[in-house]
């Protein structure tokens, strides 16, 4: 659906959905990074 067909409210909601997806993806990347660091540091500590 083109932008012109969307009401301002629908456009606002689409923006919110996009931000939520971006935040979700960012959080996933960050979490995987943290897991990696914790696992590596745990192995170094246990060596």
């Amino acid at each position: 659906m083109s932008d012109a067909e969307l009401s301002p409210e629908a456009r606002k909601r689409r923006g919110q959905r996009n931000v939520a997806i971006a935040l979700g993806l960012g959080a996933f990347v960050l979490i995987v990074f943290i897991v990696t660091i914790l696992k590596i540091s745990g192995n170094i500590g246990g060596a």
Partner: protein
């Protein structure tokens, strides 16, 4: 864009916000899963398991997201049922806010991510158990049992009972007897909990064609079965004390709440036909019962670990 979508006037789905997608995850069920999983994890740590607190938190998050994903897949599969039941008609799919296909995609994506994340943050035993939990809830319960047998929530209850076992395995890499005792408590708690709900929502399930116990076996039979499960639940509720998983505080709490559960189940059994008050009381108390028992275990374990 797909031709059919192009020809449609802006549907309600254009107005869906992030909170509508979050609602697909069944946040209230998720909060119960987080709580029972937390208790399983802390009990495992109190039992000697070692896991970094950060990895423990991320593992709990993965378990919660896995539970949410199965909720989204359940809403996708049961959209037709949800649209005729008062209890579920306000969900995002019946409201037209989230298309069914998006709920399916959302659920599958989160299922894969949660299992992968749990494998990364803990171990493959826990990740495998989480994958099995999602499979059991979506395929065995939602797709198969829910519409075919009044034993649907008895067998399907296994999915809701697994989170503490998954969390125990996440911390220790194993699932010993104590973890399965926690499973057993939730497993035996599920039928009286949902049948109490079904007794005062009987019309809802009958209209949707879901074979819940009251509209298949009748009210009297359901009440008898609730009482039988209450006896088994009250007995299994004190089992953690016998194995050493729970202490004296737990014994006191589980005995008192088990007695309360039995009394309210007896009242349901003796309540007049079509009476809704006693089942409502039992339903409300059942939530408190599970919370009290698991909270008692949590407090005892935290006390043993840090005080």
């Amino acid at each position: 864009m797909h031709k059919r979508a192009m020809s449609e006037t802006p549907s309600r789905s254009a107005f869906a916000g992030p909170k509508d997608y979050f609602a697909l995850l069944k946040p209230r069920v998720m909060s119960l899963v987080i709580f029972t999983a937390l208790v399983g994890m802390v009990a495992s740590i109190a039992d000697g398991a070692e896991i970094h607190p950060g990895l423990a938190a991320i593992s709990l998050l993965a378990i919660a997201v896995g539970a949410g994903a199965s909720g989204a897949l359940n809403m996708w599969w049961d959209a037709d049922i949800d649209s005729v039941m008062v209890r579920t008609i306000s969900r995002p799919i019946p409201q037209g806010l989230v298309p069914k296909s998006e709920a399916a995609g959302f659920g599958m994506l989160l299922s894969a991510l949660s299992v992968a994340l749990l494998a990364l943050s803990s171990n493959y035993v826990a990740a495998g158990l989480l994958a099995f939990t999602i499979f059991f809830y979506v395929v065995i319960y939602s797709m198969w049992l829910k519409r075919s047998t009044p034993q649907n929530i008895v067998i399907g209850g296994a999915a809701g009972a697994l989170p503490p076992v998954v969390a125990w395995a996440a911390a220790s890499g194993a699932a010993p007897l104590d973890a399965w005792i926690l499973f057993l408590i939730i497993f035996l708690w599920t039928p009286p909990h949902f049948w109490a709900l079904a007794l005062y929502r009987e019309g809802d399930y009958a209209r949707a064609g879901v074979p819940m116990m009251p509209n298949v076996a009748g009210e009297e039979s359901t009440k008898r079965q609730i009482f039988v499960y209450a006896i088994m639940l009250a007995a299994s509720g004190v089992a953690p004390y016998a194995t050493g998983l729970g202490g004296l505080v737990y014994l006191a709490v589980s005995s008192a709440f088990g007695a309360g559960f039995l009394v309210l189940s007896w009242r349901v059994l003796k309540s007049p036909p079509k009476s809704k008050e006693a089942p409502k009381q039992l339903f409300a108390f059942s939530i408190l019962y599970l919370f009290a028992l698991f909270a008692a275990l949590l407090v005892e374990d935290l006390f043993a670990l840090y005080v």
